[in-house]
């Protein structure tokens, strides 16, 4: 099946919290909904599930309007960040519950519960109660219940956020595989860029209730069309530099002229924003290019194989990623050298201005 949101808007107390969202999901697709807390991820999922009714727009299932169809008649499964299971039911009964409600024969229920338990490695826990399980096991139970439902639309709302790091790593690998076999459209909400990249598929970047980009995950990452898409999809945070083009010359806030910036030469005068990710910058004692900036080291964080060096460059603090272990002392003068090929330029409205942007733009 295909599923589409057609100009969906949602108001809460007179405020538009979801604004004109248009998305079409292909059958058996994996879609990551990426955005910070309060961007509207859960709200969009609730609208897709039919738990809330949109203020404007339509939901289309295989082209047919299902906007008003009650949730019980829709083929939807949802898993929340907080593990939700029936506390008085065993793991077995928790997984079986959607099938019991649907009147499936007993032998068939047993077969499906055991299959889901096998896939999610819960076989030895079927007779336990949720309170006797670890967080990871409880969430796997909730996921198994979503799996047996064989829903056409599976909504996972930060399903791994409350789990341990390594367990997340493992489940993150397994989840798309488990659901892709069922042919479901999978929607996975997360706040973390690295999680989106690891999941692959397509990514929707969401900021303040608006979709800023939708496309293949690595394309959206490499080729953001809007500054908010780039911000949401950067960890460490996106480094930014406001610049002004005046009489053909590009200057930073302090009035210092900068070198050629790809994409700005044929643009009209005005304010722009140059942005780059931490790994597009290197740190040196001396300037090596036209995009070199003097600053003072604020702090160095070492993650084992890499060092994150925070440098105050006057317009704010940039985070630069350098491979290997480098202890740059706070207060030390450093030069940030930016790779011009890895620079994004946005206009005053936040739209990307470079020519190569167009190939990544289509939803």
């Amino acid at each position: 099946m295909t599923f589409a949101l057609d100009h969906i808007g949602f108001d809460v107390g007179g405020d538009r919290v979801i604004d004109d969202v248009c998305l079409t999901f292909a059958p058996a697709s994996l879609n990551v909904l990426l955005g910070p807390t309060l961007a509207g991820k859960t709200t969009i999922m609730r609208l897709m599930a039919g738990l809330d009714q949109p203020s404007t727009g339509r939901l289309l299932l295989d082209g047919e309007d299902v906007t008003g169809t009650p949730i019980r008649k829709r083929s939807v499964a949802m898993v929340y960040q907080q593990f939700i299971n029936y506390p008085s039911f065993t793991v077995y009964e928790n997984i079986a519950s959607p099938l019991r409600g649907a009147g499936v024969a007993k032998a068939e229920i047993d077969k499906q519960v055991r299959e889901a338990a096998r896939v999610l490695r819960l076989e030895n826990l079927l007779q336990r109660l949720p309170a006797q399980l670890s967080g990871g096991q409880q969430q796997r139970t909730a996921i198994a219940r979503a799996l047996v439902k064989r829903a056409g639309l599976v909504l996972l709302d930060e399903p791994l956020a409350n789990l341990d790091y390594k367990l997340r790593e493992e489940l993150r690998e397994e989840l798309p595989r488990i659901f892709s076999r069922t042919g479901a459209i999978l929607m996975y909400a997360t706040t973390e860029p690295s999680e989106a990249l690891l999941l692959g598929g397509s990514t929707i970047t969401l900021s303040a209730g608006r979709v800023t980009q939708f496309g293949p995950t690595s394309k959206v990452y490499r080729n953001p069309v809007h500054i908010d898409a780039a911000r949401v999809f950067s960890d460490p945070p996106l480094n930014e530099l406001p610049v002004a083009k005046q009489d053909g010359t590009i200057k930073d806030r302090s009035g210092r002229p900068l070198g050629r910036i790809d994409g700005l030469s044929d643009r009209p005068d005005g304010g722009y924003r140059v942005a780059f990710r931490a790994d597009a910058a290197s740190i040196g004692p001396a300037a090596t290019g036209e995009l070199s900036f003097y600053g003072k080291v604020v702090i160095t964080e070492i993650s084992g194989s890499e060092s994150f060096i925070h440098v105050d460059v006057g317009v704010g603090t940039w985070v630069c990623l350098v491979s290997g272990v480098h202890e740059w002392a706070p207060g030390r003068t450093a030069v940030v050298n930016i790779d011009p090929r890895q620079v994004f330029v946005f206009d005053a409205s936040g739209r990307r201005v470079q020519a190569n942007v167009l190939e990544g733009a289509e939803p």
Binding site: S134, Y221, I299, G304, P330
Partner: protein
């Protein structure tokens, strides 16, 4: 100047332990040095919170002593230990202003107003809270409230230690970067002993001078972030640190050569007399195995992951799954690729413990 000593500490929640496996925290001796930042890192149930609670006084250990400098505090309650704590969720007074919240721990100690004002201003400046000092705490976002909690934890300059229990778990990724670097800057400025519990390796590694990696009630390695990355002393450290973790392969090791699944490659050191009858593994991080256009070991590609600033290939070397790095200059990959293992960063483990070889 206070250092904290855990002297032969062990803990079993359940009455009378009979064997080692009954201890949730197994025998542990360590001196936490004044002025350093430590992280306790491990999966849930590894004993890291138990260890923190023993230091704070919430848990009295079944065995061993807790010393603050030379004073035995094993049986002293938390409030007599002179420590500050920051928890996962913000603990602040909604009806008070931000300044009053920050001043609260100092008022309790009956410090003079000028001293309190100076200290509050100093901490507020470090945490970028200066403009908010006169606002009520009510109505602030969860992130802002947690920043105030951090400030309250840091405001007393006379504490023996500041203990953090997963303080950034509920914070958004972008703000996490800011708060973490702030915390580190504050640590440098204040000369305090800080102990920070987390299950997030990036938080632990970037914050701490030294990380205590825990698994199953045991501290398996204490080291700097670089030591944990380059030289994991235990297979668990190799697995838990790094994303993805270290590759481990069952291997035959003779001299400076390793045999894996019928393939042979060189090691950086010579291993003469490995104990017999125990499982031998070779461990190498994905960062130190790369796809090469030159000669190397042939591996089957199962899957490629694009992680943005790096790309990884999930391959099989014989029947051994490995994760390897795809260098930037390598474009399309065939079904079979040649891989190169960096011998200088390859280690040998016997029964999960790293074995030191000798220089060739």
């Amino acid at each position: 100047m206070t250092s904290i000593t855990l002297d032969g500490v062990a803990h079993a929640y359940d009455g009378k332990p009979r064997s080692e496996s009954d201890y949730q925290l197994k025998l542990f001796t360590h001196v936490w040095e004044h002025g350093l930042a430590y992280a306790l890192l491990g999966p849930s149930g590894c004993g890291k919170t138990t260890l923190l609670n023993i230091i704070s006084g919430l848990v009295i250990p079944s065995e061993g002593r807790v010393l603050f400098s030379d004073k035995d505090v094993t049986h002293l309650p938390t409030e007599q230990r002179n420590i500050a704590q920051v928890f996962q969720f913000p603990v602040i007074y909604d009806t008070m202003s931000v300044a009053e919240n920050l001043a609260f721990p100092l008022k309790n100690r009956r410090l003079s107003k000028p001293v309190i004002d100076r200290r509050v201003a100093e901490i507020a400046a470090m945490l970028d809270l200066t403009d908010d000092l006169n606002r009520r705490a009510r109505g602030l976002t969860a992130d802002a409230k947690q920043k105030i909690s951090l400030g309250r934890g840091l405001v007393r300059s006379d504490v023996s230690a500041v203990l953090f229990d997963e303080p950034l778990t509920v914070i958004d990724p972008a703000l996490k970067w800011e708060l973490r670097s702030k915390l580190k800057t504050v640590h440098r400025a204040l000369d305090l002993l800080m102990i920070y519990v987390t299950h997030d390796q990036i938080e632990a590694l970037t914050f701490a001078d030294k990380v205590v990696v825990m698994n199953d009630g045991r501290a398996v390695q204490i080291g700097t972030p670089a030591e944990l990355f380059y030289r994991p002393e235990h297979t668990f450290v190799g697995y838990f640190i790094g994303s993805p973790g270290m590759n481990f392969m069952r291997a035959g090791v003779r001299g400076d050569r390793a045999q894996v699944a019928g393939f042979e490659f060189g090691l950086g050191q010579v291993y003469d007399n490995l104990p017999a009858g125990q499982p031998v593994q070779v461990g190498v991080r994905p960062e130190f195995v790369s796809v090469t256009s030159g000669s190397g070991l042939p591996a089957q590609v199962r899957r490629i992951a694009d992680l943005g600033r790096k790309r990884l290939a999930y391959v099989n070397l014989g029947d051994h799954p490995l994760v390897v790095t795809i260098p930037r200059e390598v474009e399309g990959l065939g079904e079979v690729v040649n891989i190169l293992i960096d011998s200088a960063n390859t280690h040998v483990y016997v029964a999960d413990a790293r074995v030191q070889g000798r220089a060739p």
